[in-house]
């Protein structure tokens, strides 16, 4: 896998710029180590919308045209957490670049998963963009049930701390809805998010 360097730059706080050479170099080094040690994993499950845990108006609105949904989890695995700590021991500069590369890898893996789901749909069926626990009023406390529904611990080694944090660190859970309506389709990073002052906001695709 190769992380788009402009995306890496965006996660480093400078959207719209290219990575300067010494940082691009650093990103190469991080990516080489990730390629060697990291084994990303994912798990998914098709559910009825009513099977999703928690009460959320925002989630309900997001899935309002959907008759079913796919719940998924993606992780870069425990060895990525180890690499991050290893980088931190030597250089926080490298660790901060490495962290950005990991964020892009995670985005790409989620996009890949959604792409696979899309490709498997029948004619006339579409996916909504992903919606994760913690978005809007879908409270993070649903994470426990989400992991249980996916049997995430056994299948991909994804667990939760007592404080509700996903471990391994570079992991994501989300739900995409299945509907007959095209206008809700995937691929519009950041456009639906109300936080306009976010330093990581992507510009229009």
């Amino acid at each position: 896998m190769r992380a788009d360097r402009r995306e890496v730059a965006r996660y480093l706080g400078l959207a719209g710029s290219a990575l300067p050479p010494e940082l691009a170099h650093c990103a190469d080094a991080c990516e080489e180590e990730l390629e060697r040690f990291v084994r990303p994993k994912s798990v998914r499950r098709t559910l009825a919308v009513s099977d999703l845990p928690g009460e959320s108006r925002d989630l309900a609105h997001h899935l309002r045209h959907c008759d079913a949904c796919v719940l998924y989890a993606v992780t870069l695995g425990a060895e990525t957490d180890r690499l991050l700590r290893r980088w931190s021991a030597r250089s926080m500069a490298k660790a901060s670049v490495g962290q950005a590369v990991c964020a892009v890898w995670l985005d790409d893996l989620c996009a890949q998963l959604c792409g696979e789901l899309s490709a498997g749909l029948e004619e006339g069926r579409y996916l909504t963009p992903p919606f994760s626990p913690g978005y809007g009023d879908w409270d993070l406390s649903v994470q426990r049930k989400v992991l249980d529904l996916l049997i995430a611990h056994k299948r991909i080694g994804l667990t939760l701390t007592d404080g509700g944090m996903l471990v391994p660190e570079k992991s994501v859970t989300a739900v995409v809805g299945l509907s007959d309506r095209q206008e809700e389709s995937c691929g519009q990073k950041c456009m639906r998010c109300p936080k306009r002052d976010c330093p990581f906001r992507a510009f229009g695709d």
Partner: protein, 808 residues
């Protein structure tokens, strides 16, 4: 020998198959913990057991896979109640089927949490968790404990220890590997064998995750390394999704056919997810008549970390890096006393880059709490490197503490021939596992002949054997004495090594560099002695891997003895070294960091450009040339940092570039500190940093730390997941004027409020600055923080304002 262990050695015994899907077929509601049916619907559970008994299975697992205390909270039952009922159900089922030759195995599955330092479950808490089902298995009268579906060797260690400490039943230990042949936390099959044989389990196994065919490579790997009988319980193939559920579509006949080639390596067979009584019936039918495998004793000594194992098989020596040892090392001593693990971690990583296979860890200083410091240091090193470690201490309490929490099977340095040593150290090896370095000295001192030392070695071997510790676990240390103190010293050491291998059949180890003590050009002697020792049969060499001549000697020996295929490693190491120059110190890392410093580049420029190596060498040069240290700091470092800070805030530089400059300044400052009169650079901490309780993210905090240190603030970093009490105690102890707190999640931000509340309650005169992704200016105000830092530089500015103001 227990009846169950005798049985599995006498005839083929089979575990049962999947329970989950059988209970689903019996109508168990989704979301209910299946274990609870052991009490609420015993008939349904007994019925499943009876079906497997009728199919021919005689090793029956209890319906207790998820039975650890936290999971039982919603149900109002205890671990003991479930385990007792579950064991009772198996006995009842056997009674109903008239089975007299069956055995009950209490099933212990994973806790569902990842252990620290990656997750938040502490190792000892994990042991306590598993202690409950283990103790219950004993009182309920089970025949064995089956710990299965473990995906992490550290959690497996906790569970096995819990079983060893809370029951005296045979222990079967089974792991789940993924399709790439590794455990989820990165462990290899060989590392699994190292750990589990060190702990002395009765069966080593693989279960779940894969079907028989996919499991074959991992199983074959276990078979090659294991001296312990093996257990195999695959799934009925790989699941596919149908209507949202997992469906296993390998038929009973197909399952049996796939298991057939694996049966000659498996002492005990069974089945996991997707298997049914029909699958087990077919399996038993197909394999019942096959002879049991003959499990042979393997000779290699396996030493492991959380993920990888090093095999010492007597043919090829390994390098044990000696640098983490405070003797004669002022910087390391200071770092250990200050609790600066960063320094130690760097020494570890440097040795790894230089080619060490194992790292020695010694933190013995008279004024330190050695058990605590050794344990903490070992854990910190294991967080960043997969190299196995050698625990090096003469304090038995420190050895036990570190050995207990070590993730893997380490080298233990050391035991000697004194009765006291044998009495305290051998039981530790038996309980936790480890390769044991045996010093050939006793109450009479160090014999001055090889025969004398060998006699002591023999004593140790016999004492170990009496405790059930295999000969292959032992490494005899020939004791290197300076040749300047006695002309025969080197000869005696080499002869001891030779005889130990020839007569006792043990491995050998030496601390090589002592031979040259007191003589000039020590490298000459060390290299030559090293080569002679390798030729005498040395298995482990405790040396400085950053020494060019030593690694040169090592690589040359291997190339000359045909141990380095086509001299590949030799060439890789020395390809770019010019012939006339002395051997390079460290082979250049693959993606190299910097170009060599250009002439005319100032220290200020090097810092501004983030050139760490150049900054360090320029700083040393300037200091050696006699430039006033404060002049260097104020004339070069400070302006460079100010310039970079301004560029960052103006949006002309990225955060990593800011950090590169900060790290260059920090490296330069570390060097300059050596030239300052003692006391001028020291002092108590000015700023305490911590990520609050429950929060395990620390990259943001670490970034702030690097920036503050580059501006020469003295920082005390308490790490992550820090309780309010610990922060308050540290502030009180060191009278720290500024506390920086970070939290990443809305769920942990309340702990930030709690910490501030405690500090105010104790009337501690410190200011508090807060930051983190979910923290806002409003929230900071609400919880009573003195300042809010939206980014790392803001913390630096606040610290400057606050602390530099105080100095006036």
């Amino acid at each position: 020998m227990e009846p169950i262990l005798k049985a599995i050695r006498t005839r083929r015994m089979y575990f049962d198959g999947g329970m989950g899907s059988m209970l689903q077929a019996a109508g168990i509601p989704e979301g209910l913990l299946p274990d609870v049916w052991s009490i609420r619907n015993p008939e349904a559970v007994q019925d499943v057991h009876r079906q497997y008994l009728r199919a021919g299975c005689r090793l029956i697992t209890t319906n207790t896979f998820g039975t650890t205390a936290p999971r039982l909270v919603p149900y109002g039952v205890t671990v003991n109640e479930i385990v007792t009922a579950a064991v009772g159900n198996v006995r009842a089922a056997m009674e109903a089927e008239g089975v007299k030759d069956g055995f009950v195995c209490v099933d212990i599955g994973p806790s569902g949490k990842l252990l620290k330092p990656y997750g938040d479950l502490d190792f000892e808490d994990a042991v306590a968790l598993f202690a409950q089902p283990a103790a219950a298995a004993q009182t309920a009268g089970a025949d064995a404990v089956l710990i299965e579906t473990m995906s992490d060797l550290y959690e497996m260690k906790a569970a096995v220890l819990a079983a060893k400490e809370n029951c005296d039943l045979p222990i079967f230990a089974s792991l789940i590997f993924d399709g790439s042949g590794k455990l989820l936390t990165g462990g290899s099959p060989r590392a699994a064998v190292a750990l589990l044989e060190g702990l002395g389990v009765d069966l080593i196994g693989v279960n779940c995750g894969l079907g028989p065919r996919e499991m074959t490579p991992v199983f074959e790997s276990l078979w090659k390394d294991s001296s312990t009988p093996l257990l195999l319980q695959p799934n009925a193939g790989l699941p596919h999704t149908e209507g949202g559920k997992a469906v296993y579509d390998v038929s009973p006949a197909e399952y049996a056919a796939q298991m057939l080639p694996l049966a000659p390596m498996a002492t005990v067979l069974g089945g996991c997810c997707g298997t049914t009584p029909a699958h087990l019936g077919a399996l038993i039918e197909a394999t019942r008549g096959l002879p049991l495998p003959t499990v042979t004793e393997k000779d290699a000594l396996l030493i492991s970390s959380y993920c990888q194992a090093v095999a010492l098989d007597g043919t090829d020596a390994v390098i044990i890096g000696e640098r983490i040892n405070p003797t004669g090392k002022k910087k390391l001593q200071a770092a250990l006393r200050a609790g600066d693990t960063g320094y130690v971690l760097n020494e570890a990583l440097k040795q790894e880059d230089a080619g060490a296979h194992i790292l020695d860890v010694n933190v013995g200083l008279p004024d330190l709490d050695e058990p605590a410091v050794l344990t903490r240091t070992v854990e910190a090193i294991q967080e960043v490197t997969g190299l196995p470690l050698q625990l090096d201490t003469s304090d038995p309490a420190a050895m036990e503490s570190a050995l207990r929490r070590y993730n893997g099977k380490p080298l233990i340095n050391s035991v000697n021939g004194k009765a006291e040593s044998l009495k305290t150290i051998l039981p530790l090896v038996k309980k936790y596992g480890g390769g044991l370095v045996c010093l050939t000295l006793d109450d009479n001192g160090i014999p001055d002949t090889a025969e004398g030392r060998l006699a002591i070695a023999e004593t140790i071997v016999e004492a170990a054997k009496a405790r059930g510790i295999r000969r292959r676990e032992l490494l005899v240390d020939g004791l290197t004495m300076p040749v300047s103190a006695g002309p025969d010293n080197a000869n005696v050491t080499l002869e001891t090594i030779r005889l130990a291998k020839e007569r006792l059949g043990v491995k050998t180890v030496l601390g090589v560099s002592n031979v040259s003590f007191g003589l000039p050009r020590r490298d000459n002697l060390n290299q030559a002695f090293f080569t002679l020792a390798l030729h005498s049969g040395l298995d482990g060499a405790i040396i400085n891997p950053m020494s060019g001549p030593m690694m040169g000697a090592y690589r040359s020996y291997r190339a000359l003895r045909g141990l380095d295929e086509q001299c590949q490693e030799y060439m890789e190491a020395f390809q770019n070294a010019p012939d006339s120059a002395p051997a390079s110190v460290v082979p250049a890392p693959k993606v190299s960091a910097e170009k060599p410093p250009e002439t005319g580049v100032t220290l200020r420029h090097a810092v501004a450009k983030g050139l760490r190596e150049s900054a360090a060498s320029l700083a040393r040069q300037m200091a050696q040339d006699g430039t006033d240290i404060l002049e260097i700091i104020n004339g070069q470092l400070v302006p460079a940092l100010d310039e970079v800070g301004r560029s960052f805030e103006a949006g002309r530089l990225f955060l990593p570039q800011l950090l590169m400059s900060a790290e260059a300044a920090k490296d330069a400052f570390e060097i300059l500190k050596e030239y300052l009169p003692a006391g001028e650079s020291g002092g108590s901490p000015q700023i305490l940093l911590a990520t609050v309780k429950g929060d395990i993210h620390d990259i943001g905090k670490n970034i702030v730390k690097v920036l503050l240190e580059s501006y020469r603030f003295r920082v005390l970093d308490l790490g992550k997941d820090v309780a309010p009490e610990a922060i308050a105690a540290a502030v009180a102890e060191h009278s720290i004027p500024l506390v920086g707190l970070s939290a990443l999640m809305t769920t942990t931000a309340p702990n930030m409020a709690e910490t501030i509340r405690l500090l105010r309650e104790r009337a501690l005169p410190c200011k508090v600055v807060v930051g983190g992704a979910v923290i806002t200016r409003d929230y900071a105000e609400t919880i009573g923080a003195d300042w809010y830092a939206p980014d790392a530089m803001e913390t630096v500015h606040y610290a400057q304002k606050l602390l530099e103001e105080r100095q006036r």
